[in-house]
């Protein structure tokens, strides 16, 4: 039984957060699974979509659908205006210096691969080094491994301590004259660790080393200001931040983007083509070959405005309260061990039970309506570091409630009963 204290107002100080009203914005939350009310705690995998985003997609396809940057007709002008308007809205959300620095990609993964293929192939050579960390998602490991293999460069990995915090002394030691790039997450998807990203960037810049930040788990929860961070590249995915799948953002400092070759060849990324020579388009179009995901761009801009409208400070405070409450509730479960207890943590509860494998627990939770991720979370090196094959991960969003965390904890108790 749940013995922890009840959720108190002081868990989220100064908050007036009408979570039930917020939940009404998300139609997918209002459903039953296996005959139980859905408790959606898999937000780090993908988030649900507010009606405003769904309406933006429907509105675009119902009224404005046309190709961009080429038509002389009115619908194409409207589509172009909406698409480029979305770029500016996203630029403002991230406080980028210019809309030319906002490149539409498919998701964070493609953003990283773009930087690998263009920046990496241009500026990384034999015996050069790329620094990543032990808590990266596979998307921020594998592209760099591929590059290192191709260029005979070396991958250097910043270790983490038993809480899941980066060991900053080791990081500082890894930076050197051969380091060509630091590629690092702002928030770990598997552990919830919030890395000291400004300090990481400051140290790298002391050596004139550019920094790519994987913000896939940061943008849904925190206000991100790329100029304040000072990062050289920043990537995130739309679908994890309440927007559509298949759209993401690569922010890059104009000075770097100008020096990098194009990513893919095709329409839209060119100014003039002859069989002898092609003149590439200017930024940001140089990096956007082919017809883009127009609806996705509009949906993403709408999603970012939606969370900005709720207030990212307020979102952060509510989630912080949920995390504290959920941590206490899970601490009452016998044999439960939290994996990832970083000093600064995002709303992720990753855990293992002594006698129940994560995959069995995931199935049992699912049948009580609780959707979690069970597995390695595309971060197998993290699992290896903590000596577990897999964890169960409950990842929260601002629409989650204290009552849902109580359902999670009692569902885990039920699993213990089944396995007794």
């Amino acid at each position: 039984m749940i013995t922890a204290r009840a959720f108190k107002a002081s868990d989220a100080p100064g908050m007036r957060w009408d979570v039930e009203r917020v939940r009404k914005d998300f139609p997918a939350l209002d459903q039953q699974v296996h005959g139980k009310p859905l408790v959606y705690l898999d937000n780090a995998a993908t988030s649900q979509k507010p009606q405003a985003v769904i309406d933006a997609l429907v509105g675009y396809y119902s009224r404005d659908n046309a190709n961009v940057h080429r038509g002389v007709h009115l619908m194409s002008e409207r589509a172009t205006e909406a698409y480029e308007g979305a770029r500016v809205r996203i630029q403002r959300h991230l406080n980028a210096a210019s809309a030319r620095e906002i490149i539409f990609v498919r998701q964070a993964t493609e953003g990283i691969n773009l930087v690998m293929a263009t920046f990496g192939r241009s500026f990384v050579g034999p015996s050069d080094e790329i620094v990543i960390t032990a808590i990266e998602h596979h998307a921020n490991i594998v592209p760099w491994q591929m590059l290192c293999e191709e260029k005979r460069a070396a991958l250097r990995v910043v270790p983490v301590d038993d809480r899941g915090d980066l060991i900053m002394e080791e990081y500082a030691r890894l930076l050197g004259p051969r380091t060509r790039l630091v590629a690092i997450t702002q928030v770990s998807n598997a552990l919830g660790t919030v890395t000291p990203i400004k300090e990481i960037i400051r140290l790298a810049h002391r050596h004139q080393i550019p920094v790519l930040v994987d913000g896939a788990q940061a943008v849904p929860h925190h206000q991100v200001d790329v100029q304040d961070l000072g990062c050289d590249f920043y990537v995130f995915s739309g679908h994890k931040t309440f927007g559509p799948t298949g759209i993401g953002i690569l922010y890059g400092k104009e000075t770097w983007l100008e020096r990098m070759p194009p990513y893919q060849g095709g329409g839209d990324m060119i100014k003039a083509v002859t069989f002898e020579k092609t003149i590439y388009n200017e930024l940001p179009y140089k990096f956007e070959a082919g017809t883009p995901h127009i609806a996705g761009a509009i949906g993403l801009a709408t999603a970012l405005e939606y969370i900005a409208g709720l207030g990212l400070d307020r979102i952060g405070a509510w989630e912080h309260g949920l995390l504290a409450y959920g941590t206490e509730l899970l601490a009452t479960v016998p044999g439960l061990r939290l994996i990832g207890t970083a000093r600064r943590k995002s709303a992720v509860l990753s855990f293992v039970l002594d006698d129940i494998h994560a995959h069995d627990l995931g199935t049992i939770l699912d049948h009580q309506g609780v959707a979690v991720r069970a597995g390695h979370h595309c971060a197998m090196p993290v699992m290896q570091r903590f000596g577990v094959p897999a964890t169960v991960r409950a990842s929260l969003a601002f629409y989650n409630t204290p009552a849902e965390l109580e359902t999670l904890a009692s569902a885990v108790q039920k699993a213990l009963e089944i396995f007794r």
Partner: protein, 150 residues
């Protein structure tokens, strides 16, 4: 909850807690690795096959309750069987696990192995139950590569 009880029957929980034949096999002449990347289930299967008969079977590995119980019971049921019968058993278990949930339960005559019939109600878990059997098939056909459920 009744569906969950159907999946996690006492027999399965017991084999998970105390897997039978959980050891390396001295003098094994067949060996295969099985891996389920979705949840990280991993087993190494050892067989001693003489004159076309599986004289002994053992395994080691780690994974979820379904995969461990399945490997434990599989090794128990193929020991002493001619290879052809072991392969036939693989086919029948596979048919039972992958049958349409609404169809006839094809567990008749499978004896204790019929406890896995409930797994087909849980599509994401079928691979956990079939892993040991796919590994058996690989070991019998002398496949050198690790088998994967993907």
């Amino acid at each position: 909850m009744s569906e969950l009880r159907e999946l996690y029957q006492q027999v399965i929980l017991d084999h998970n807690r105390k897997p039978r034949n959980f050891r390396t096999l001295e003098g094994a002449n067949r060996r295969a690795e099985g891996y389920n990347p979705l949840c990280g289930d991993q087993i190494t299967l050892y067989l001693n096959v003489e004159d076309g008969v599986v004289k002994d079977a053992a395994f080691q590995g780690k994974g979820c309750a379904i995969s461990m119980a399945s490997a434990s019971m599989m090794t128990g049921s193929v020991s002493g069987k001619p290879e052809a019968e072991a392969v036939a058993l693989f086919r029948r278990v596979h048919a039972m696990l992958t049958a349409e949930p609404t169809g006839e339960v094809a567990g008749d005559g499978l004896g204790k192995l019929a406890v896995f019939a409930g797994v087909r109600e849980f599509p994401s878990r079928i691979k956990c139950a079939t892993l040991a059997w796919h590994t058996l098939q690989a070991a019998l056909s002398r496949a050198a590569e690790p088998v994967s459920t993907e």
